[in-house]
């Protein structure tokens, strides 16, 4: 071994500028995104946080006044309604989308004729915003104009479907329309997941004599865990951001019985000139998101870390 002798006699080319550039390039390319994330996500959150401690009304004001806005926020009955509704809507919306989406995916996965056609039907609502479909939905759900009227005309005089005009129930119509829009997408996710399940596992289970139901419940569905996770993230983001949906369908009504935090924030910050209060509600919303999503993401990435 002539290591020591060699070391001194070696030629040592130095890094050229191009090499420095090459090694820095990935970071340079990611730079703008980082900057954008810092300013437009975190900067704006801080900005909003700041405003939540001010008396901002019509336009932003920057003199701090303490926790006044938070106190009045939690004294506001409407805020509690909005929070409760987010719980009802978010929970039901996610569960319904997951269950129906999975059901549809499983049904479609049974060698169905016209699968492509049916899939397109289930998926198309995702393409349309409630700006477009809101009116149609309002009509359908309206007891005098829509479904209730139709069924009654068909001879079922006692049929009632008037949730949209019933204060305690209107939030459920929001779930119906929201699920209508999003289940197709969840179905697509699950279908993609089902197609990716290893055939060998299923064959092994069949050889073991497992019934089809059994194969689904104890083998296929558990193996879709990552899909559930993706769907959960996407659905919860839709639920938290739901705004157009409520505005188009119920306008938050009857009264403010179908308000969500997003509509609450918008109403107070922009229509009632209480930007400080709106900012406070936004911060609470974001804190809720962080409290729910971050542990979820953390545990999931930990579990599947490569």
């Amino acid at each position: 071994m002539t290591t020591a002798a060699n070391a001194s006699s070696l030629d040592r080319p130095h890094k050229r500028f191009a090499d420095y550039l090459e090694t820095a390039l990935p970071k340079i390319v990611l730079g703008p995104t980082l900057l954008i994330a810092l300013i437009f996500i975190y900067g704006f959150i801080i900005w909003t946080g700041w405003l939540s401690f001010t008396e901002s009304r019509l336009l932003p004001r920057y003199e701090l006044t303490g926790f006044v806005q938070y106190i009045s926020l939690f004294e506001n009955e409407r805020w509690w309604v909005a929070l409760r509704n987010l719980g009802i809507f978010g929970g039901l919306f996610i569960v319904v989308c997951l269950v129906v989406g999975l059901l549809l995916a499983i049904l479609l996965d049974q060698r169905i004729r016209a699968e492509g056609f049916l899939r397109a039907i289930y998926l198309y609502p995702m393409a349309l915003s409630f700006i477009v479909t809101g009116t149609a939905w309002r009509w359908i759900l309206n007891p005098g104009l829509g479904l209730q009227n139709l069924v009654r005309q068909m001879g079922f005089e006692n049929f009632t479907f008037d949730w949209i005009v019933t204060p305690g129930m209107s939030i459920y119509t929001v779930v119906i329309a929201g699920a209508w829009q999003s289940t197709g997408f969840v179905m697509a996710l699950f279908l993609a997941g089902l197609r990716g399940v290893d055939d060998a596992i299923i064959k092994a289970a069949q050889v073991d004599g497992a019934s089809p139901t059994r194969i689904y419940t104890s083998i296929i569905i558990p193996s879709l865990r990552p899909v559930f996770f993706s769907a959960l993230i996407i659905l919860s983001h839709i639920a938290i951001k739901s705004f157009d949906l409520v505005m188009a369908l119920t306008g938050g009504g009857p009264g403010f019985s179908s308000d969500l935090p997003a509509t609450f924030m918008y109403t107070f910050a922009f229509n009632r000139n209480q930007i400080g209060l709106g900012a406070a509600s936004a911060i609470i919303m974001l804190m809720t998101v962080v409290a729910i999503i971050v542990p979820l993401m953390y545990s999931e990435t930990r579990r599947t870390h490569r």
């Binding site: 009304r57 019509l58 336009l59 932003p60 009045s72 009955e77 409407r78 309002r138 309206n142 007891p143 005098g144 008037d162 949209i164 005009v165 019933t166 204060p167 209107s170 119920t250 306008g251 009504g253 009857p254 009264g255 403010f256 019985s257 918008y266 109403t267 107070f268 922009f270 229509n271 009632r272 000139n273 209480q274």
Partner: protein, 422 residues
């Protein structure tokens, strides 16, 4: 380089002939006005188009900036963003105390010179001009006066039910019972917060009278807000609610009006913009429908004035164009055309109302008489009386009352009082 610039400029001129181009041609003709409004439909849009025509005659360019929805709620969001971004429009449709709030932010222009030249102080009633001024200077231009406390009734329905059109809330109850017995809907209503409050406002005025109304809803007097009068008003609202059909939730007001037009419902409590619907359906006032003050409010007048606030402009040509806009809005010709379309009455005093219908004439007459008798009050449901925060909170109370059968009038009155404190 130069050539392409010229090409671009000439392309712009051509485009301008078709629609209205941006910056380049400002220097050539007058200035550009960008007006934020939410008058996007039928008659309203036609009225705005008239304004546009008048400005174009003066050589200015009209850049339309229409944002409809929710009685201007979306438009207000847009306006705030525009101002925050340092790029406000020339003028925006803002009314009532909102004018003062914007003025306080120091973003509005002083248009006293136009006002003096046009003798606005002489032409506008005091209640109106005081709203348009901030610290003694004009910052906004009024367009029209709406009367909110109207009741629109279909006489044929009353006849069918054997009832007579009510003038007090007691009479209302008798009539409504008869109509309901006849299998018809007594009150056409849309369960949207602003409609709930519009209805309540008329009831409150009828129950409590103009001076109590002034104390409660303009001065936000705690005693008046939480008084037995307020409780009585809510009791009356509960009574009226019995005669509203179940499907009213989130119904647009014009659909409710259609129910009266079609004879499905007997009456609607709505401002005079509802008249446009009757007119469009080919109905004649006095025979097909009647306009009357809401029960108990004869002689009183809740006004709702649409106005444009004028934003500070940097550009000389833009300032000139803005002055042209202010002049045009107050021009008798525009006032006539606009208000004929909109169902309201001109804000200028002493105009010839020959072309207006009976309802408008009545409205105009009561506008001056109520002013003298101190029965002219601003409509709080239409943002004329109090800041949006209080108004919003009161909307919440009224709407909660309408949608919560078990809520007592006493609680509602207490709620109104705390809404007045925000």
């Amino acid at each position: 380089m130069k050539l392409t610039w010229k090409l671009a400029a000439s392309a712009c001129v051509v485009a301008a002939a078709l629609s209205g181009c941006e910056r380049q041609e400002e220097a050539a003709a007058g200035g550009e006005v960008e007006v934020l409004h939410w008058w996007t439909s039928g008659g309203e849009a036609a009225s705005v188009a008239e304004l546009k025509k008048m400005l174009e005659e003066k050589g200015d360019t009209w850049k339309d900036f229409a944002v409809a929805g929710g009685g201007g709620e979306t438009a207000m969001t847009v306006l705030k963003s525009r101002v925050v971004s340092g790029n406000p429009p020339t003028a925006a449709q803002v009314k009532g105390p909102g004018i003062q709030e914007w003025a306080r932010e120091g973003v509005l222009a002083n248009i006293d010179s136009v006002a003096q030249a046009g003798n606005w102080d002489g032409l506008l009633p005091g209640v109106v001009s005081s709203v348009m001024k901030y610290e003694g200077n004009y910052v906004a231009v009024p367009v029209n006066v709406h009367r909110v406390n109207w009741m629109w009734a279909n006489p044929a329905v009353f006849e069918k039910a054997g009832a007579s059109i009510p003038t007090t809330w007691a009479e209302f109850q008798t009539a409504a019972d008869k109509i309901q017995k006849a299998g018809l809907i007594a009150v056409a209503h849309g369960g949207q917060p602003w409609q709930d409050s519009t209805l309540f406002e008329s009831i409150a005025l009828g129950v409590g009278g103009a001076s109590w109304y002034q104390k409660a809803f303009v001065e936000l007097d705690q005693v008046a807000l939480n008084s037995s009068t307020m409780i009585e008003a809510f009791d009356t609202l509960r009574m009226v609610q019995k005669y509203i059909d179940k499907d009213a939730a989130n119904r647009d007001w014009n659909l409710a009006t259609a129910m009266v037009i079609n004879g499905d419902a007997a009456m609607q409590f709505m401002g005079d913009w509802a008249k446009g619907e009757f007119t469009a359906a080919g109905k004649v006032p006095g025979t097909d429908y009647v306009c009357m003050p809401a029960p108990g409010t004869a002689g009183s007048f809740t006004f709702n004035i649409d106005s444009f606030i004028m934003f500070e402009q940097k550009d000389e040509s833009a300032i000139t164009a803005q002055a042209h806009l202010a002049e045009a809005i107050m021009d008798p010709k525009f006032q006539e055309i606009f208000n004929l379309n909109k169902g309201s009455i001109p804000v200028r005093l002493g105009m010839d109302l020959a072309k207006f219908d009976q309802c408008a004439k009545d409205s105009s007459a009561e506008f001056s008489s109520s002013s003298q008798e101190k029965k002219l009050v601003p409509s709080w449901a239409h943002e004329m009386a109090m800041p949006p925060a209080n108004k919003g909170a009161m909307f919440d109370v009224v709407t909660a009352f309408m949608n919560t059968p078990g809520m007592s009038s006493k609680d509602a009155a207490a709620g109104m009082a705390s809404a007045g404190k925000i």
